[in-house]
């Protein structure tokens, strides 16, 4: 066992982990973090997506020992003071159905918009290509991410004009 310390949703956390434990197992099993879901356990479905130093990764493919000193964000750490613009739009547009893929999709889309605030449709699809959804047909996901990006870009432009 190894004792690791990392930032989890903005706070430092320490935990003993085994050499073969995945980040997903440690989050769900030891730290009570349940929004990353296990859909396949081998990196195919994206339901366990978390942000590692801001990048979307599949927590079932990351060994927990690797995250020592890094920063991990799960859906628990997103919109703590109320839903983000992206979450609001996902809610308003009735995007998700069963909701099991939602945490992973939201984190992957958030990482995309943080890095590339004005993505093209192709870039949105590329960024979310690792997140399977069996309910929606993906169309409302793509449209909502693009709409939020457009709205955010418009707002930041108008802020610049005012200042």
């Amino acid at each position: 066992m190894k004792h690791i310390t990392f930032q989890l949703n903005g706070s430092a956390r320490s935990v003993w982990v085994g050499p073969n434990e995945t980040l997903l197992d440690v989050l769900r099993g030891k730290l009570g973090i349940k929004t990353p879901k296990e859909g396949c356990g081998r990196g195919d479905c994206g339901a366990c997506t978390v942000l590692l130093d801001g990048k979307a990764v599949r927590s079932c493919l990351i060994l927990a020992v690797e995250v020592e000193g890094q920063s991990v964000t799960t859906l628990e750490g997103v919109g703590q003071k109320g839903p983000t613009a992206l979450q609001k739009a996902f809610i308003e547009n009735n995007v998700f159905q069963c909701g099991f893929c939602a945490p992973g999709v939201i984190l992957a889309a958030s990482a995309l918009l943080a890095e590339n605030p004005k993505p093209s449709e192709a870039e949105v699809r590329e960024a979310l290509a690792g997140n399977l959804c069996r309910c929606t047909g993906y169309e409302p996901i793509v449209k909502t991410v693009l709409a939020v990006a457009k709205k955010t870009a418009r707002q930041s432009t108008s802020r610049r004009v005012r200042s």
Binding site: N94, Q97, F100, L132, R134, G137
Partner: protein, 776 residues
């Protein structure tokens, strides 16, 4: 909480925000594996090593420490070793000395305080069997069906007969035949199967899990567990997708978990990992369907003869009704006086096939709509023109003798879809196997037209009498509101939202005062399983009427207590009498809750008396109502790599009243995407070892965000007036028709007819490079 257009005072027809949206988007929804149960043991299923044989022994390794583990075998079943589904043949666990009928049949259930220990213990159990020859696949069964029909092993047969096909064939100018095949399909809900069973002090059990039909285990495990229905209580946890996959199977899973739970007194949870879920849960039935059709030169059908055989697997479970739904859709959509449809459920030594969105109808529509294009091509007719000429419409008589009502948008669906897709022009421009200079992609467009019987097949709804209740209660904020009490589960389809909309309109109170708790058989009447595209239509009507009943009770109370006996009306949250001051809902409801107990509105669903059905002869009104749809697919086939890209899908549906347009479109796009996978990606065969040949998401490929076409979804509304607010089925019909539309588009692109799905690049390659030309 909700949005409603300013123009309307109704919630039905508005894209109200999902009541479960906030919880799901903010990560607060707790699925089964997220719930922090304390002291729950983990169960693991031990299975047969052969597909067919005699179970010799189940041996526990004497060197292993079994003191921390409980093992249940068939000997531990308290009652009869049977899961009571549509017949009483399937054992809960395979017993020593008994016949093993499929690979992976459960033999024992091991439970331990940790999953690791349970898995370790399971590895120390040896199952031995004397192997017998196995018949594993539908093609093997069909070989027998064709060559030695008397030896063909069927679990259920049924015929539909209308008119006289011999006479019809005699009148025909041409007789055109075709055979069409489809493989297994995995539901691939993202949340795997899971249940937990809590044994109670009085010997009863309480089960929770990811399931569609809370009342199924209550009525199907009585013999095995020797428990009456009132001693089996089942509650749904939030369901992370189901699509039929959590219809009949969770009953078995609860049965498996109950055995070690009852033996040890510990609560036992069984959750599958992905590969176990793919290998050992039911799939869509593979099908072989053969059409022989007599046609006149002008295109009219003089006779339709159809054989429809599905692979039921080793036990019947629910396959009889899948076959019934299949044959009822084999010749539904077109005018013809002389029809015979023969349905069979083939028995094979494979995992029992089960429910999957569409339930036999997609297999039937795949055959019929492929065949219709074959007929059109042979007659030199355009596929759109032939469908416009022949399609079933109000007043027409179906193969079972049902007269189609005027609440039928079949013609409107066809006209709108053809227009929106610019079908005629694009068909003319289709490649037909010829690449223009510089082109690498063959282009084509294809269509399908189909109906879908809404609600239970035959007299199902008449016999079932779905029950529901809307009860007055104090909500969690201490203020009055209502609870919807039905057994229909939320599994992503949006039932919690649409029934809330229906109750809001019927009660005339805001949706923020309405709750729809998770279905729990201890608290809800039996409104039926969440299946068969029946919930919005049937249960929606039940809660509409129940809410009306409760509203009338409130109005009577308000009239007496607040309006000196003058009749009043509850309208948009207030009780009103002309000329007096309105009184808010909360005030009257609070007073009524103080004075009376158990205030609720109730309703039991009935069909109109003119609906008649004979289950023996399959004559009469096969469904209370029909939804209709048209799918048009545009494809590109890469002539070099043989890859198919579906670029655009136009879909028009008549689902009666659309309750929530945004959610309805979402459900349609999701269903079309599953149908896309069924048609060109999702391949699942059976290996010689009796196991499915794909076990994970790298080998069983479902559509990603990069694979989906542009969707153009529209609705035409022909409401089902008998059951306000007038919905017909929506859940399944998006799965029904895209496969033949794509195959027809591929035929238009390549000039080759492909009569099997999935149409993988290998299949295209063979079709393009076959020596003899396929039928375009």
């Amino acid at each position: 909480m909700s949005k409603r257009s300013k123009k309307s005072d109704r919630w039905v027809g508005q894209s109200m925000i999902r009541v479960d949206g906030d919880g799901k988007v903010r990560g607060r929804t707790q699925y089964l594996n997220d719930i922090p149960y304390k002291g729950v043991w983990q169960g693991v299923v031990v299975r047969t090593p052969v597909a067919h044989g005699i179970l010799k022994a189940v041996t526990l390794d004497p060197a292993f420490d079994w003191s921390q583990v409980v093992v249940a075998t068939a000997e531990d079943i308290p009652g009869e070793n049977i899961v009571h589904m549509h017949d009483r043949t399937m054992p809960l666990l395979a017993a020593v000395g008994g016949e093993i009928k499929y690979r992976g049949e459960p033999v024992a259930v091991v439970a331990a305080p940790t999953l690791a220990l349970a898995q370790e213990a399971a590895r120390h159990i040896t199952v031995t069997a004397d192997e017998l020859p196995a018949l594993l696949t539908l093609p093997e069964a069909i070989k027998i069906y064709k060559s030695a029909p008397k030896k063909f092993d069927t679990m259920q047969s049924k015929r539909i007969v209308k008119g006289d096909v011999a006479k019809g064939f005699a009148l025909a100018d041409e007789i055109i035949t075709g055979e069409y095949w489809a493989g297994h399909q995995e539901q691939l809900y993202l949340e795997n199967q899971g249940v937990v069973v809590f044994p109670q002090q009085d010997g009863s059990i309480w089960a929770e899990g990811s399931l569609q039909c809370p009342y199924f285990p209550v009525h199907e495990l009585n013999d095995a567990l020797r428990l009456p229905p009132e001693k089996i209580r089942v509650r749904q946890t939030p369901v992370g997708g189901a699509f039929g996959g959590k219809e009949e199977y969770p009953t078995m899973l609860i049965g498996y978990a109950a055995l070690p739970a009852l033996k040890s007194g510990k609560p036992v949870k069984i959750t599958y990992e992905r590969n176990e879920d793919i290998l050992f849960t039911p799939k869509r039935h593979p099908v072989w369907v053969r059409y022989k059709t007599g046609v006149k030169k002008d295109g009219t059908f003089t006779a339709i003869e159809c054989d429809f055989v599905i692979d039921g697997g080793a036990y019947l479970t629910i396959s009889d009704v899948v076959m019934f739904r299949g044959i009822l859709h084999c010749a539904l959509a077109y005018r013809c006086e002389n029809v015979i449809v023969r349905g069979e459920v083939a028995r094979t030594h494979s995992f029992p096939s089960g429910a999957f969105r569409g339930f036999g109808a997609p297999q039937a529509v795949w055959g019929m709509e492929s065949h219709l294009d074959v007929v059109a091509a042979r007659l030199g007719k355009k596929p759109d023109e032939l469908r416009l000429q022949l399609h079933a419409r109000p007043g027409d008589i179906t193969p079972t003798g049902q007269v189609l009502s005027s609440e039928n948008g079949s013609t409107a669906c066809l006209q709108l879809a053809l227009k929106r897709s610019d079908f005629a022009r694009k068909l003319k421009e289709s490649s037909r196997g010829r690449l223009k200079r510089g082109q690498q992609k063959l282009r084509g467009i294809g269509m399908s037209f189909f109906g879908h019987g809404a609600a239970f097949t035959g007299d199902g709804e008449a016999n079932f009498k779905a029950k529901g209740r809307v009860e007055l209660a104090l909500l969690e904020d201490g203020q009055p509101g209502v609870n919807i009490r039905v057994s229909s589960v939320e599994m992503g389809q949006g039932v919690h939202t649409v029934l809330t909309q229906i109750v809001a309109d019927a009660m005339q109170i805001g949706p923020e005062r309405i709750r729809y708790p998770m279905a729990d058989t201890g608290l809800v009447p039996n409104s039926g399983p969440t299946v068969a595209s029946r919930t919005t239509m049937v249960v929606g009507n039940v809660v509409h009427r129940a809410a009306g009943d409760l509203k009338a009770q409130l109005e009577a109370f308000a009239a007496e207590k607040f309006f000196k006996g003058k009749a009043c009306e509850l309208r948009t949250g207030k009780f009103v009498v002309k000329g007096t001051r309105a009184i808010p809902f909360a005030k009257v409801a609070q007073a009524m809750l103080t004075e009376c107990q158990n205030i609720s509105g109730k309703f039991e669903f009935l069909l109109p008396p003119e609906i008649q059905w004979d289950q023996g002869t399959f004559v009469g009104d096969a469904y209370p109502g029909y939804s209709w749809g048209v799918n048009i697919a545009e494809v590109e086939v890469d002539a070099l790599t043989c890859e198919v890209a579906v670029k655009r899908v136009a879909a028009v549906f008549d689902i009666g009243t659309v309750i929530n347009p945004v959610s309805a479109s979402g459900q349609v796009e999701g269903g079309l995407t599953q149908a896309l996978g069924y048609t060109i990606m999702e391949k699942l065969g059976t290996g010689k070892d009796g196991l499915y040949d794909a076990t994970r998401l790298q080998t069983y490929i479902i559509p990603t965000i990069l694979d989906v076409p542009e969707f153009d979804v529209s609705f035409v509304e022909y409401p089902y007036s008998f059951a306000p607010p007038g919905a017909k089925g929506l859940g399944e019909i998006p799965m029904d028709g895209l496969a033949p539309a794509i195959a027809n588009a591929i035929a238009a692109a390549t000039g080759r007819r492909i009569n099997q799905i999935p149409i993988t690049p290998e299949v295209i390659y063979q079709a393009l490079h076959a020596d003899s030309k396929g039928t375009p």
